[in-house]
Symmetry: C2
Subunit: 200 residues, 2 copies
Amino acid sequence: MTGSAAPPDAMLALVEALRRLPGVGVKSAQRMAYHLLQHDRDGALRLSQALDHAVHGIRHCERCHTFTEQPVCAACLDPARDTRLLCVVETPADQAAVERTGTYRGLYFVLMGRLSPLDGVGVQDIGLPELLARVREGEVREVIVATNFTAEGEVTAHAVAEALRALDVRVTRLARGVPIGSELEYVDLGTIAHAFSERR
Amino acid sequence: MTGSAAPPDAMLALVEALRRLPGVGVKSAQRMAYHLLQHDRDGALRLSQALDHAVHGIRHCERCHTFTEQPVCAACLDPARDTRLLCVVETPADQAAVERTGTYRGLYFVLMGRLSPLDGVGVQDIGLPELLARVREGEVREVIVATNFTAEGEVTAHAVAEALRALDVRVTRLARGVPIGSELEYVDLGTIAHAFSERR
């Protein structure tokens, strides 16, 4: 509009681009764009470069599918790890959570997603064929399925277990139970029921 | 850490850069980085370019200080506007809100902020000297102070009015009152009190 007080095109394009971030609506995107241009142009340029570097530098590990800047990630190349154990997680964030516990020293397979037929995410998309091929190599003795304990995570765990059933490998699932530090009164009933049936 | 499952450096740099966005914590930043790299690399590149274009293309209008890609913005150059009216707003977003009402056809002065001594934002930072110089040119007959009705916005409005007091110009403030469509029962008491004292 000629003569109007509409924001400049570069601003509108920036707002539109920011809206593609998950959880960012139009108001947040406008606030972010204003903040960057008015108070943090250095931060805006850094973000621009970080995005560019990440997109061009980060690929998937050929072995475990996690994000890496090398053909094979450092964890897969680590000679100190127990190659008989393979932990299946949904995302690199889940992998990082397992890693932080410091109790697991095996290898990982990162699905980079979860089964979600409604969103068009099938077994190909989570790398199930590659997982089977990996297990068929014969070195893995146990696959620990550590997908999330959500509906989609459970469906994914079931699909992984079914796919591996014919192979000579032990398939286990992380234990369900009452979280440490929680009071029974505030724990959901499904969790308590599971903790009962899986008591030891 | 050699052999660890730590995220690649480019990923960590991206998370760090995303955290500089307002309202984005470390968990949100990780989720955004994962989403962009796994599901929307095209969006990531677009955002990278949009940031770069915005930072290099957007400057402040020499007349009203709003964001523009030209030396002087389209609103300031619009010959159809009433140059005797000058509306003072805090941000381009506020300017856009006023503009959307379709009732105001004067010019704007955008403070690009608000007085906030605790954050080190003084009268220089909101362009008060430039506002005074603009009014001294003599064309403006009325300055409509449309800063926000927050504590800082009111302080800013007071400072603007004080600074203009010695000049031969009418200074008005947007009316306070009960918002259209609201029920008195749910309107805060200060607003109702103002609506009473400013009844007409």
